[in-house]
């Protein structure tokens, strides 16, 4: 498929250099052609890339091969229908002067470009609101530039008032001075968070209210920015696995799997059948747990504390299985490049089956209280609606996008780990309201359990790691028994798995949506650059669109049903 995609793209853009990297086509264009290229990729029938997945930049300052331009910006686009993944790369002549913005094409470019500006200091001409997003407003310099020292912290003395941002948003929504006089009440500004029970973490919402109705909303993220990407540049590939635990900490194992999958796909490793099945079983198990935390929290916000106990107690019980398997309750770090850390323990099937039954009971009990509950229906149906078109434009993926009626799921559309051989459905919503986003998680949990049961039947015996001395650690018997084994172990631990030079993007269907990793490797055991494509970040970007025009209390339950996890949102 990619050869035809490549031919089509090369024919359409004769001036650009096109090449296939893994399952994406990389189109290299000059900055003056960027706007035109992106526009055509979005609007032309042949390409129709409705989803701007991510934007990132690369600083080639210390890269072994000297590049003509220090900075390159990469736009990752996707046509979810034909599974066409395109990366548009462009060199940046002058970071101060910048390159043209893509905000008029996709809404998701707004936050994506702000992040690139914040982290790399590259300007985007014509961006409506180019200010920092992850780092605080008193920060000076751009941390992901290679000449920024990692340990150089900068103290923030005061929080940003965000007054200009909310006023600009009011004007954008058509509320100006005269309307304010016309409506009989004054516009009230209300700040929620960053430490507030409704935010379930550290996010700040600022709303302008007419009575209880939200006229405008702006959000501040980055309170949990922990420098994942900069830290990853200092670690070997396997040392990054524990960092990925802390992205979406409700489903840490899925991050582990997504991360090593991305590394393995570039290395060209086919992992063993048993490892594949283990990853499927564990991903789906964690998907259920992730959705459970989300639903439990959402129901508390809606006033149903009982449901919280029904769901949370089962999740708590499932931790017993996880801690027995991985040694930790929350932060699993269970994968390694080329396979898994350990095999399942003896008798795991019975434990898992018992926990699945427990989870089903918790879900069933909750559904009985929720499914036909009029209060739930009234509070959620037709509230905070987002259309399929807008959801795509904002770069939403996963359950929140499917709730708006777009049946895009990487497990179906770009199957990996034998997902195409499992029998499962992708639940799709019809209205894109809170009710759909909420119920879709219930149905996905049942589908995940279906996959686990099928995988349990078919899981083969065998090794869990590939046999390759450049990738997997040798057996302990060899490490202690002969010098070659010892040297092999030592080199792999200290230097890390050597990954060939190059640049690639690979993605995974995590609980919240498309979790992608964009790597640049300089051939050493440490990534030159690692950018996470966090599903939450773009969903949060659409938050204002969802809540404006609705009531303040709706915003609270909308925030809990889109499952924003700070670790993944801010990295």
């Amino acid at each position: 498929m990619n050869t035809t995609a490549l031919e089509n793209l090369q024919a359409a853009f004769p001036d650009a250099t096109c090449k296939v990297v893994l399952n994406s086509v990389v189109v290299e264009v000059q900055p003056e052609n960027l706007e035109n290229t992106l526009g055509r990729l979005k609007n032309e029938q042949d390409f129709n890339c409705g989803l701007l997945v991510d934007i990132t930049a690369i600083d080639y300052l210390e890269y072994p091969q000297q590049q003509e331009r220090r900075f390159h910006v990469v736009y990752t686009l996707r046509n979810w229908k034909t599974n066409l993944l395109v990366q548009v790369r462009t060199p940046v002549t002058d970071a101060e002067e910048g390159i043209p913005t893509a905000t008029h094409l996709w809404e998701s470019a707004n936050w994506g470009e702000r992040e690139v500006y914040d982290q790399y200091g590259i300007h985007f001409q014509g961006h409506p609101d180019l200010r920092r997003i992850l780092n605080h407003w008193q920060f000076e310099g751009h941390p992901l530039r290679k000449d920024y020292p990692i340990e150089k912290g900068q103290i923030c003395f005061d929080t940003d008032r965000m007054e200009n941002a909310i006023r600009a948003r009011l004007v954008k929504n058509g509320v100006d001075e005269t309307t304010m006089k016309d409506i009989n009440t004054e516009v009230m500004f209300l700040n929620i968070g960053p430490s507030h029970p409704a935010t379930h973490g550290a996010i700040r919402l600022l709303v302008a209210l007419d009575g209880e109705t939200i006229l405008a909303n702006v959000n501040e993220v980055g309170y949990l920015h922990r420098g994942f990407e900069k830290t990853a540049e200092q670690r070997t590939y396997n040392q990054i696995v524990p960092l990925t635990d802390r992205l979406n900490y409700c489903s840490s194992m899925m991050n582990n799997i997504a991360y090593v999958k991305a590394v393995e796909s570039w290395l060209g490793i086919e992992i063993t059948e048993r490892a594949k099945f283990m990853r499927v079983v564990l991903s789906e198990f964690y998907r259920v747990l992730d959705h459970m935390v989300c639903l439990a929290a959402a129901l508390v916000d809606m006033g149903g504390l009982t449901n919280y106990w029904y769901l949370y107690n089962e999740k708590e019980a499932a931790y017993d299985f996880i801690s027995r398997l991985t040694g930790a309750r929350l932060t699993s770090s269970f994968t390694r490049v080329g396979g898994m850390y350990r095999d399942f323990y003896d008798g795991w099937q019975d434990d898992l089956e018992a926990h699945i039954r427990g989870l089903e009971k918790g879900m069933g009990d909750t559904l009985k209280l929720v499914d036909t509950n009029r209060i739930v229906h009234e509070r959620t149906q037709g509230v905070c609606v987002i259309s399929a078109e807008s959801a795509l434009s904002y770069g939403m993926t996963g359950p929140t996008l499917r709730a708006s009626g777009v049946p895009y799921d990487l497990r179906k559309d770009a199957p990996y780990y034998n997902y195409d051989s499992f029998d499962f459905a992708v639940p799709v919503g019809s209205n894109g309201d809170i009710y759909d986003r909420f119920m879709i998680r219930f149905y996905e949990m049942f589908e995940s359990i279906k996959i686990i049961r099928q995988a349990l039947k078919d899981i083969p015996e065998g090794p869990i790691n590939v046999v390759d001395s450049q990738i997997s650690l040798p057996p302990k018997k060899q490490v202690y028994g002969n010098i070659e084994g010892l040297a092999n172990h030592f080199k792999l631990i200290f230097e890390g798995v050597k990954v060939p030079q190059g640049e690639w993007y690979d993605s995974f269907e995590a609980a919240n949506g498309e979790l992608g990793f964009h790597f640049v490797s300089d051939g050493s055991g440490t990534p030159y650059k690692l950018k996470v494509r966090p599903p939450c970040f773009y969903t949060m970007g659409a938050f204002a669109k969802m809540v404006e025009g609705n009531m303040i209390a709706d915003a609270v339950i909308n925030l809990s049903c889109i499952n924003i996890i700070g670790g993944e949102l801010d990295r």
């Binding site: 992850l134 780092n135 605080h136 920060f139 941390p143 920024y148 020292p149 990692i150 340990e151 150089k152 912290g153 900068q154 103290i155 923030c156 003395f157 005061d158 929080t159 960053p194 430490s195 507030h196 029970p197 379930h200 973490g201 550290a202 980055g222 309170y223 949990l224 920015h225 922990r226 420098g227 900069k230 830290t231 524990p242 960092l243 635990d245 802390r246 900490y249 409700c250 935390v293 106990w309 949370y312 107690n313 708590e316 019980a317 931790y319 309750r329 929350l330 932060t331 700070g566 670790g567």
Partner: protein, 170 residues
Amino acid sequence: MALGLEASLGDTVITTKLNKIVNWGRQYSLWPFVYGTACCAIEFMSTAASQYDISRWGAEVVRFSPRQADLLLVCGTISYKQAPVLKRIYEQMPDPKWVVAMGACASSGGIYDNYCTVQGIDTIIPVDIYISGCPPRPEAVLDALIKIQEQIKGESILEDRHKDFKGILD
């Protein structure tokens, strides 16, 4: 058996030190404010849930207003962006107040030794108890709670414990 003054007052009156009676009351009715930012907050949820049940130590009344709380539980990483918010919340809490740094990040920055993470919240506010772990198990949170209760027992109600504290934001 009553001795001294109590013997002459009869069995309806007890005498004690003010410190002792007030601390006894404070000790078993700590109201936590959960400053949850990251993974540790999920483990705090487990501590509060049925299996570990923090109410066995009289600290289940989780408040989300700092003005109603006397135990600040900092669960998770504190970034420089968040530091002024944490400080403000600490200042809003009425005295007496105690602070627990839950987990490696809050205690020392943890694995995040970089440009955006505060290397331990004790550079911003005074901390009474540190919990190790990434994240700590619920038992460790309960252990910290018991240690705070022990500490309260020996405190003076008149003394301001942290009047000399100076953090990076002061």
